[in-house]
């Protein structure tokens, strides 16, 4: 019988639904609305069914075409990729519900197809075990995102979409060159296999390939200075798409960098090199966010900042640092996507993206505003929300290495947290206590949209107040990554 706990289903089912949407749109337009919900609902179920296997073995490998990994493409799920996949599926599910009530612009069926494709691509990037397949997944995600960013077809959307497309294409080319260089060096494309075969290469030989891959993924992953498309593209997209873009897509690209760095290019110099990127990303993201007048643009810059933060934690190259990074990823994904969803609902009511117009909205849209506050607090790292635990972990991990550089980094991080607090509180304050400007009737967002928000919010609250399982899980995931269990287990289970 079919073993449903197969990671490949995480990709295959959304893709199936993508084509189903295309097919069904020939007959009925309204079916397309609801198909993504089923797709990602199934995905969530499957992801949850994979959990026991992963917990037992530490790694699950799914083959394609009936061949062992180096011969054919494989999907590899370990703890880290599993939880990212769960988050992605979950976000896909929740945002699909939201979409049903949010998208009211033609051509809807294309939107739903692309949206499903986007999330599928993200999951794909997360669980693939093959380097070229990663490039394909990268392109799937990008293409879907390009189309979705331009969805509104207005001036800003088109400009943002085009910028994103050009930068993304350059990134794709660089990524491909990097992958090909590795292929030229090793003759294989499987990540684990490359890791094995490239072990004898010197660091200098590998470095250019790494730099190209890093650049390609870094463009998608919003690392400074490769992230200039992001503050344009995230606000221009429909809010539900922004939520996926900010919440999980950049994270998935960063994950890919994690994975490749950790398995193939695990050198101390690299981490040192990456730390500068991380800190610059953090600084520029947060500082830029402070100056924004456009609420979605602010959130987008904040995404850059958060990315810098968890990327920094990754570059610490210690179990604790990685654990902090993973916790921060969970925090950021849940909070930021929730924020975008809420803000989307608010923009619908307010009719503007200017922060000044949001004065007093919090009093009218109470549920939304409440969860907005929760999400922002969590992002700022205020207790008792989950962001606090992750920030705590990151700082602890950073200060475990007592050198002046680390202390300086920590100071930067905390200063940037202050900046973050400054702009979030500015917004919250206006929203809850400001005088509403116009007489426009502002109502609470529709029930369906709220459902999505509340689901995410409750999950966030749950992990905030009961973080122990997540902490344990991320700790395991982090030590897996540190001990290179990905390679070891893949070798053991995959029979490479």
């Amino acid at each position: 019988m079919v073993n449903l706990a197969n990671p490949i289903l995480l990709i295959a089912i959304p893709l199936l639904f993508v084509f189903l949407i295309a097919f069904s749109s020939a007959f009925s337009k309204s079916i397309a609305k609801y198909l993504p919900i089923f797709a990602f609902g199934l995905n969530v179920v499957i992801a949850i069914m994979i959990i026991p296997d992963v917990l037992k073995n530490g790694l699950v490998i799914a083959t394609t075409a009936g061949f062992k990994p180096p011969i054919a493409i494989d999907m590899v799920v370990d703890r880290l990729s599993l939880f990212l996949a769960i988050i992605a599926s979950l976000l896909g599910f929740v945002v699909s519900i939201y979409n049903v009530f949010y998208i009211d612009e033609e051509p809807e069926e294309k939107f739903y197809a692309l949206f499903t494709l986007l999330v599928a691509g993200v999951i794909w990037m997360i669980i693939t075990g093959d380097l070229f397949n990663l490039f394909v997944a990268f392109e799937v995600t990008s293409i879907a995102a390009f189309g979705l960013v331009g969805f509104h077809r207005d001036k800003g959307a088109v400009e943002a979409g085009f910028k994103y497309l050009v930068m993304g294409s350059i990134g794709g080319s660089f990524l491909l060159v990097g992958v090909i260089m590795l292929y030229a060096a090793t003759g294989t494309l499987n990540i684990v296999d490359i890791a094995q075969k490239s072990a004898e290469l010197t660091f200098q030989q590998k470095f250019l390939a790494y730099a190209l891959i890093f650049t390609g993924l870094g463009i998608e992953g919003a690392l400074f200075p490769l992230n200039a498309w992001l503050p344009d593209a995230h606000p221009a997209a429909p809010s539900s798409v922004s939520s996926i873009l900010s919440g999980i897509m950049t994270t998935a690209a960063i994950y890919a960098i994690f994975r490749i760095t950790n398995t193939i290019f695990d050198y101390n110099q690299i981490y040192f090199f990456l730390m500068f990127f991380a800190l610059l990303t953090l600084i520029f993201g947060e500082v830029a966010a402070f100056f924004q007048k456009d609420i979605k643009r602010m959130l987008a810059y904040s995404t850059i900042g958060q990315t810098g933060l968890f990327f920094f934690a990754f570059t610490l190259h210690s179990t604790n640092g990685l654990q902090g990074a993973f916790m921060q990823i969970i925090n950021h994904s849940l909070s930021k996507s929730m924020l975008f969803l809420i803000v989307g609902g608010m923009i619908m009511q307010v009719g503007s993206r200017n922060i000044d117009d949001f004065a007093g909205v919090g009093r009218k849209m109470k549920v939304s505003a409440f969860f907005l506050a929760v999400g922002m607090f969590s992002l700022m790292g205020l207790p008792p929300f989950f962001g606090f635990w992750s920030k705590l972990k990151i700082i602890f991990a950073a200060l475990q290495q007592t050198n002046i550089l680390m202390v300086a980094s920590v100071v930067i991080i905390l200063l940037m947290s202050v900046v973050e607090g400054a702009y979030f509180f500015k917004l919250l304050q206006a929203m809850f206590f400001g005088k509403p400007k116009q007489d426009r009737e502002i109502k609470e967002a529709s029930l369906g949209m709220l459902t999505a928000v509340v689901v995410l919010g409750l999950i966030l609250l749950f992990v905030s107040f009961y973080p122990t399982p997540i902490i344990d899980f991320t700790h395991q995931a982090a030590s897996d990554l540190m001990n290179k269990n990905y390679i070891n287990l893949a070798l053991k289970l995959g029979g490479l």
């Binding site: 085009f162 910028k163 050009v166 930068m167 350059i170 990134g171 660089f174 200098q204 470095f207 250019l208 790494y210 730099a211 190209l212 890093f214 650049t215 463009i219 200075p225 490769l226 200039a228 498309w229 503050p231 110099q269 040192f272 090199f273 520029f284 500082v287 830029a288 402070f290 100056f291 604790n320 009093r363 607090f377 700022m380 205020l382 207790p383 008792p384 606090f388 635990w389 705590l392 972990k393 700082i395 602890f396 950073a398 200060l399 007592t402 202390v407 920590v410 100071v411 905390l414 200063l415 947290s417 202050v418 607090g421 400054a422 509180f425 304050q429 809850f432 206590f433 005088k435 902490i471």
Partner: protein, 630 residues
């Protein structure tokens, strides 16, 4: 019994939620819930009188245990927190009635209880994570309370929360540094680590933690949030902020100075001045500067709550000054002053709040003559200002006296002089307060003002009684303080119920004698006074005015710029404004940040693409140079 620490901590939080839900039912359900739960908290708290628990583990995080503990010192602070919170909630019931929006009120009570719970958490914490966690919760919940006050309060709250976050992150760094050494943040472990680490490390820890506490305690130069926040907050919130919240900073200082650093540690790792470790000596100086400068500022205020807010900075200076002396007497004085200040400052804020409730203004020059309309409030305010000014026989006097004695014993005379000056300055501004609000000409628009409702009076009466009792029987508080301080390694000080025999102090004090003699002389003088012919009450306009006819239309009261001539004397001091310095730097940083944003995110795709190429070029160059770029 072990469970009940957690219960004590949980009660306000649960109560807050229930209160919020209760508000959906009816506003009285909400009010009763709020009062009941704060009462319940107070009751639970009282069970811990004179008890000590070390280490009630309630969880663990990253390998560090989370611990709740209690001892008499924490009990003292618990007393402050729970009692003032209760009174504030009772006061709020009527005071906040004008707010029509139900949700706002529901969340207001919820936040009040949350702040209370957070502060209980801070006090009960037995490890730094718990401490820090509740510290942050306190910051943001109190922020929401502050911004309930309207437009201006938003800026004030913003300043408050930003400074709080900065302070909190300074603490955060320190905590993380400790954790990286100890992998446990339970106080004894931390103390052990501090005693074994290099002095530089320890000093940095103290400085970083100290910055966090200084922000919250509003010790100069980190005080700039306080005058705005305390004055713009809703009337019932101000006492909570001034009376209780800033005491958390004082508690934190007590914990680092005497809980985390063992008694001799500070002396061993740094040189001493006047037998005080340098760091503590600096703290003392900052506190003394706070006392004097804040007093000057308070004298010049035109706004009743702002005046009281500056006075809070000044008074918390005494607390910190006492705590930093390091002698039994000084620390006991500091702790006692924390309690006393909580009592009388809450009393004052409530009284001023009552006036605002009835008149709608807190501008001193708009008020006057209210003694005839609001006698109860007047009495409360007078008792409060007498205590604040440190005049015997009320409570403010005893604690100040203890601090003076401690300083004198240590021969820290310059600090002592500053403390004295601040105290005399207090006469000026407290008189200003009572004069401009209650004495003098009653303006026409306040003809119909009544005294406040009974629910608002009760808290004031309770505080008046507490002021008198702790003033005349300082031994009541000293029981707790001395017992608690013994646990932190302090030598006991000689005291009795009525004061201090000469022994551990340079002079003796017996407040009950002062009080009784004063009462007797007062009664005698009064009787003597009554012996003579009765006096005839005349209208307030029946005045000597050098021939001018005084009519109600005339603004006759002298209340604006009351100490203008004194202002001319201290003008040079105000040329330097700490706030202006901060603003300058913030603006500079903003301009700087904006400038660079405009050069990085130009909106030009060419530029963006060239970034990508540059990154790759750097990598390529690195390869070509043989990896020598790093």
């Amino acid at each position: 019994m072990n469970m009940s620490l957690e219960l004590l901590l949980a009660t306000p939080f649960i109560g807050g939620l229930l209160t919020y839900i209760g508000g959906k039912v009816h506003r009285w359900v909400r009010n009763i819930f709020a009062v009941l739960f704060s009462l319940l908290t107070l009751g639970e708290m009282s069970l811990f009188y004179n008890t000590t628990f070390k280490g009630d583990v309630w969880g663990s995080l990253f390998g560090s245990k989370l611990i709740l503990q209690t001892n008499p010192i924490t009990w003292l602070f618990l007393l402050i927190v729970t009692s003032i919170s209760l009174l504030v909630i009772v006061f709020s019931v009527d005071d906040m009635k004008h707010e029509e929006d139900h949700i706002v009120l529901d969340s207001y009570y919820m936040q009040l209880l949350f702040v209370e719970g957070a502060m209980i958490g801070i006090v009960l914490a037995g490890d730094l994570i718990t401490f820090f966690m509740f510290w942050e919760i306190m910051s943001w919940t109190s922020y929401f309370l502050i911004v309930h006050g309207g437009k201006k309060s938003m800026d004030a709250g913003y300043k408050y929360i930003i400074m709080s976050i900065i302070g909190a992150y300074a603490m955060f760094v320190a905590i993380a540094m400790i954790y990286s050494k100890a992998h446990s943040l339970v106080y004894p472990d931390v103390a052990l680590v501090l005693s074994q680490s290099s002095p530089t490390f320890t000093i940095w820890i103290i400085i970083l933690l100290g910055v966090g506490f200084f922000v919250k305690a509003a010790v100069m130069p980190l005080h700039t949030w306080l005058p705005d926040a305390h004055s713009e907050a809703p009337s019932p919130v101000s006492p909570l902020l001034s009376g209780v919240l800033i005491k958390m900073g004082a508690y934190g200082l007590f914990i680092i100075f005497y809980g985390l650093m063992s008694a001799n540690l500070a002396k061993n790792i740094m040189p001493s001045i006047f037998s005080t470790p340098v760091l503590l000596y600096i703290v003392q100086w900052l506190a003394a500067l706070s006392i004097v400068l804040a007093t000057f500022l308070a004298i010049m205020q035109e706004d009743a709550k702002r005046l009281l807010a500056y006075s809070s900075i000044s008074q918390i200076g005494y607390v910190v000054l006492g705590l930093a002396t390091g002698t039994s007497l000084g620390v006991a004085g500091g702790l006692f002053h924390a309690l006393n200040h909580a009592i009388f400052k809450s009393l004052l804020f409530l009284a001023v709040g009552a006036v605002i409730y009835r008149t709608g203004t807190r501008n001193l020059s708009d008020l006057g003559g209210l003694v005839k309309k609001m006698p109860f409030t007047f009495v409360a305010l007078v008792v409060g200002i007498i205590a604040l000014a440190g005049v015997p026989p009320l409570n403010g006097f005893v604690s100040k006296w203890m601090i003076y004695e401690a300083l004198l014993q240590k021969k820290e005379v310059f600090l002592l002089i500053m403390a004295f000056v601040g105290s005399t300055g207090a006469f000026l501004y407290v008189y200003r307060l009572v004069h401009s609000i209650f004495l003098g000409q009653l303006s026409q628009k306040h003809e119909n003002v009544k005294d406040v409702p009974i629910l608002m009076q009760i808290p004031m009466w309770v505080l008046v009684i507490a002021t008198v009792i702790y003033g005349i029987f300082p031994g009541l508080a000293m029981d707790v303080i001395v017992k608690g301080m013994k646990m932190f390694g302090f030598a006991p000080i000689a005291y009795n119920l009525y004061g201090f025999p000469q022994g551990s102090t340079m002079g003796a004090l017996k407040v009950i004698n002062i009080a009784s003699v004063l009462m007797i002389s007062f009664v005698v003088a009064w009787i003597f006074f009554l012996l003579f012919s009765k006096s005839r009450k005349v209208s307030q306009y029946d005045n000597y005015a050098a021939g001018q006819v005084v009519t109600p239309e005339l603004k006759y009261n002298y209340s604006f710029g009351f100490y203008m001539s004194f202002g001319r004397v201290i003008k040079p001091i105000f040329k330097i404004s700490i706030e202006r310095i901060y603003n300058y730097w913030v603006d500079a940083a903003k301009i700087f940040g904006d400038y660079y944003m405009r050069r990085v995110y130009t909106g030009n795709l060419e530029t963006y693409n060239s970034y990508i190429v540059i990154v790759v070029t750097i990598a390529a160059a690195a390869v070509l140079l043989g990896g020598k770029i790093w």
